[in-house]
Symmetry: C2
DNA sequence: GTTTAAATTAAACGTTTGTTTAGTTTTGCA
DNA sequence: TGCAAAACTAAACAAACGTTTAATTTAAAC
């Protein structure tokens, strides 16, 4: 699906507003005002508010799917490196698509059917399969423990990153730092997240209970 | 604050609807219909829809604060037991207050000031302080590693549990199991969550990088 | 330059929203 | 029983919502 510059502008502005204030709290007039277009343009281009959301989902979902696809073809050496690489790419993806990720996380608890449901479901399933693949590889080579819960791991991965970023946003609201200072703090936070998430996963995967 | 049976009924029904469909998607008429009261009763008892949400928050928040307070007085032996006990109580709390937890999680990304913000902030802070306390105790006794990120751990704890429960709900939507079967599956899932979360945290806290 | 389609606009549409009003019923107490 | 306060109701309210209409401007093609 190809979009004109104006269409993309509407989609980008809508995504930001949806992520910041929620889908239902954001009115078409809010979007039109922020995107500096007439209210009728949303219906004209996308048909309806629901369809606009769907268009945003389809667009962003496509690029996220590509990123996850690329993980499969990643060629690294050891199982541990594979897990670390996976965590890196995963965090990169969520940070790069922050707004969409927040929107999806927020609305996924309410969307119970339809194309959006199917997309979210596929994303979750793909994510779990990739974790499973990385884990099984390490198990085959005798590096990882056998009784690892893949459902658990994939939810820890996405849940931890999500919660960490959300908490960080929360904390930033309380500071009066400049944009630059916030940017630095964010990078620091994400790096700490990477480090500890890797360490925790490797520990969980290789930990010998007996010791 | 004391509430009559009818007031509690409205609050309970509203909480369920808010959690299931989101605050803004749920209309006062939806609440009135489900609670089998007149639409005017919400305004009559609570003043406004916002105030109703606030009343629900204050009510539930109070009991959650008590649960967290009790954790401090928990007397257990080893640092590892302390961490395990903490995870158990924490999961119990989130499961027991599932609906409220979902509502709070959903709206916390949108609430940026006011009494609700302050409550959520306190809950997050308390949670982090408790994790910190349990960790420091283990560090003092030489059982836990020194370079542990408490911000990271608390976000992993709440994020993982939240994501796990959300995923489980998501998966249940796809099955056609009976209510009993779903209840059994849920208990199983929660037990698995307990087990792996404990294992992962202990591994993270005690893991020796060098080995 | 004229024609035709696309883009854009202001205004209006019908609904739904949260809330209020004005009136009725129920309750608790003297 | 009588009465005042509380509980409850149906109806109406203005505002905001998503969407449509009808008219106008812009752009492209011939």
């Amino acid at each position: 699906m190809e979009y004109s510059e104006k269409q993309r502008q509407i989609m980008d502005v809508a995504l930001a507003l949806f992520a910041d204030h929620g889908y239902h709290k954001t009115s078409i007039r809010d979007i039109a005002r922020a995107a500096e277009v007439n209210v009728a343009m949303v219906s004209y281009y996308f048909g309806s508010k629901d369809k606009l959301l769907e268009a945003i989902f389809i667009h962003r979902f496509g690029t996220m799917r590509e990123i996850l696809r690329d993980i499969i073809y990643e060629k690294t050496h050891s199982p541990i490196e594979k897990v670390e690489k996976f965590i890196d790419i995963f965090i990169d993806m969520l940070v790069q698509h922050q707004l969409f990720h927040r929107l999806m996380m927020r609305e996924s608890s309410v969307i119970k059917e339809g194309p959006l449901f199917d997309m979210i479901y596929e994303l979750k399933t793909t994510n779990r399969r990739l974790v499973e693949k990385a884990v099984k590889n390490g198990q085959r080579l005798g590096v990882f423990r056998k009784d690892v819960d893949v459902f658990f791991m994939s939810s820890v991965l996405i849940g931890s990153v999500n919660q960490n970023l959300a908490n960080h946003r929360y904390e930033m609201e309380h500071t009066q730092w400049t944009v630059e200072e916030k940017e630095v703090a964010k990078k620091k936070r994400i790096n700490a997240l990477r480090k500890h998430l890797k360490r925790m996963f490797i520990a969980y995967l290789t930990f010998d209970e007996g010791q």
